[in-house]
């Protein structure tokens, strides 16, 4: 058992690249590429407002059921990966949801991504919106 204390980790050859050994001790994966680069939990009903977030500068209420998540430190390109869940309902109870996939990404850009909450007939301002992004920071 050894304890290393440091405030910052940086790659030697490439500052943004550190290999970490996988669980099976046979392969490595890149530390920086495996980290979530941005996440947000927000409400879209009444005034669109984040409950908590990481690397999000602001939210923009585009129109009913459509929101832009503005990224604080930009991504390197628009080919990143992400997930988005919404209950697609203004209801705040756990029973208020649309029983189908009810949200999608509008678009990816380096400095933002857009959400579209859909309840099978129209876009809807939604109580629960959860999203995260994986990819390369600029």
């Amino acid at each position: 058992m050894a304890t290393l204390k440091t405030n910052t980790l940086t790659g030697t050859s490439t500052a943004g690249s550190i290999a970490v050994t996988g669980e099976g001790n046979s392969t490595t994966t890149n530390l920086q590429q495996g980290l979530c680069k941005c996440w947000v939990n927000y409400t879209g009903i009444s005034t669109t407002a984040e409950r908590d977030s990481f690397n999000v500068s602001s939210l923009t209420d585009i129109t009913t059921g459509q929101t832009t998540v503005n990224i604080n430190n930009n991504m390197a390109n628009a080919n990143y990966s992400g997930y988005y869940y919404t209950n697609a309902s203004t209801g705040t109870a756990y029973t208020n949801f649309v029983n189908q996939h009810a949200g999608g990404f509008g678009s990816f850009e380096t400095g933002l991504f857009k959400h579209n909450a859909y309840n099978a007939s129209s876009d809807v301002d939604s109580f629960q919106n959860l999203s995260g992004i994986f990819g390369d920071l600029a």
């Binding site: 405030n7 980790l9 490595t28 990143y80 997930y83």
Partner: protein, 129 residues
């Protein structure tokens, strides 16, 4: 302020065990490798499907309309890992998992039928083989 510069990190007792303090209260540690995502991918779902960017994705298989396989470079240790997906299409389902690939990723239209969406995204958390 201290900065550690290194190209690789390995645990001392076990190569894949490095505990890291995770919480702002400095009371919770977790194995670093367990909290690192093991795969992500962004690929186009129409026409000739293609990986746009990824980590630990080697190739795609077009298994039919709205039916995709995402193959890994380094396999997972089992087929019970966590997987989420996103799309610019109407909906997406992760239908089957395997150690070497996301076996069935299904694009869903608003009417419940299967469709090719413009792009799909995938992420995995779990144990590497």
């Amino acid at each position: 302020m201290s900065t550690l510069r290194t190209n690789a990190l390995e645990g001392v007792d076990d190569k894949s065990t490095i505990n890291i303090t995770l919480n702002e209260g400095n009371t919770i540690t977790e194995n670093l490798i367990h909290v690192i995502g093991k795969h992500w991918c962004h690929f186009t779902g129409t026409g000739t499907i293609a990986i746009q960017d990824s980590i630990n994705a080697s190739s795609l298989t077009d298994a039919g309309t709205g039916d995709y396989e995402v193959l890994f470079t380094n396999n997972m240790s089992n087929a019970v890992y966590a997987c989420v997906a996103g799309t610019q299409g109407d909906g997406v389902r992760v239908f089957a998992l395997a150690t070497s690939k996301i076996d069935r990723l299904i694009g869903i239209a608003n009417d419940g039928s299967v469709e090719d969406g413009s792009f799909y995204t995938t992420q995995i958390d779990g144990d590497l083989a």
